[in-house]
Symmetry: C2
Subunit: 220 residues, 2 copies
DNA sequence: CTATAATGTGACCTGCTAGTCATATGACTT
DNA sequence: AAGTCATATGACTAGCAGGTCACATTATAG
């Protein structure tokens, strides 16, 4: 948690500091981030930083909070396009909306996902809770989908959760990595070509690589 | 490349140094690895290390060479069980044999995969070549599979490569993470339960999560 | 035994890190 | 104007990093 001093700061000053931190984490990850560089790029003194936060982990936790809050707001505005959606359609909508969010906050997304998927796997259980919470939501969704006869029940729930998380991460990584190369990332992600790529990835998740009767043609 | 001095060293001394490096990389990754700790754990002097290698990146490259060589030997001994295998069967065999190798070198695998998948994505193009080479092999395999009518041609080749790499990495990560918790990792990985888990993951890659007519029952 | 080459060593250098703290500044109160 | 409290500051400490180098030890050759 940031100390009260930080929260009393004028909006602009906070913005600058947070921005510097995001840039630092996006470039160096969590363990290799330097508070020295963060303060230098914020134009504040070393001592000030420690009056705002305990340490770099503290400000990173604050970023996690920020992103969670902003994501919530973002999703609140965007209701699913249809009622009574198929679970896979719903998941597709969630992924695509999530990607819209990610591309509208590319640096923040890069910073957070880099730390969560890169270092989070190895450095202790700092993020175990957060990870567990998102898994829980997915698990509930899948259990419902199995009851609806949409997901193959012989594929157990934990595995299905893993599959969806794996794909969600893979797509997110792909979008951020490729998107950062584009001049207009928002336009790029909304382009039919990129959307089709996402559709295809999710199609493979749904129907697999094996050729049966080409289901894909039916869908797209 | 290690300097000639290192290659002249007695076998045992090299073993100790390499082992210390593996432990270091497995625990700290590449960027956060400390040559100081490596020399301390090897029982050699700081100066000696720099007579053997340029720096920690140099010894890491050497580890990559080592693992490539050992993997090659390992696969040479193990020929595929059947001729005229289906591509998916072949991939399944490759994955399982790979996992056998990984569990017989758990620390080395952890060190390398941690760096390749964790840091390799962000730190420059140090491993781009290596990655590209393995992708090439997969691509050729998939192109053949499409010609054989095994893989859905509407899923393009690059995507199929990505799918297979994603699953290969996911399975590898799962096996190493779970396996390290077991007392006998080799026994655990060979157990019917673990093998079934791998089968199921590959099944999902092949046929997807969506319930059609439960193909899974037919296979297992 | 001597001379030359190869290998081994750790104190030392520079540069970075995280974190502290005495002091300074400014803003608001009485 | 004097006093009080929140905020701002950067010099300073201690520790660890990568890397070097003058010197010590050991092996090999003549």
């Amino acid at each position: 948690m940031p100390k009260p001093t930080f929260l009393n700061l004028p909006e602009e000053k906070r913005r600058v500091i947070v921005h510097a931190a995001i840039e630092e984490f996006a470039e160096y990850g969590l363990e290799n981030a330097s508070t020295n560089r963060i303060v230098a790029n914020s134009g504040i003194a070393k001592g000030s930083f420690y009056q705002y936060f305990e340490d770099k982990y503290d400000i990173f936790d604050y970023l996690l909070e920020l992103i969670a809050k902003e994501k919530e707001d973002f999703f609140k505005d965007k209701r699913p396009p249809a009622k009574n959606m198929d679970t896979f359609q719903y998941f597709r909508w969630m992924i695509k909306t999530g990607m819209e969010f990610n591309t509208s906050h590319p640096l923040l997304t890069q910073a957070v996902s880099r730390v969560m998927f890169g270092e989070g796997l190895y450095y202790g259980s700092r993020f175990a809770d957060l990870r567990e919470r998102t898994s829980q939501a997915l698990r509930a969704m899948i259990q419902q989908a199995i009851r609806n006869g949409e997901v193959d029940p012989s594929v157990d729930v934990d595995l299905a959760v893993m599959v969806m998380e794996t794909w969600s991460n893979a797509i997110s990584t792909y979008i951020i990595n490729e998107g950062m190369k584009q001049k207009d990332i928002m336009k790029w992600v909304r382009s039919p070509k990129t959307q089709e790529k996402i559709d295809k990835m999710l199609y493979v998740m749904e129907y697999g690589l094996r050729k049966t009767e080409s289901e894909f043609e039916k869908h797209f």
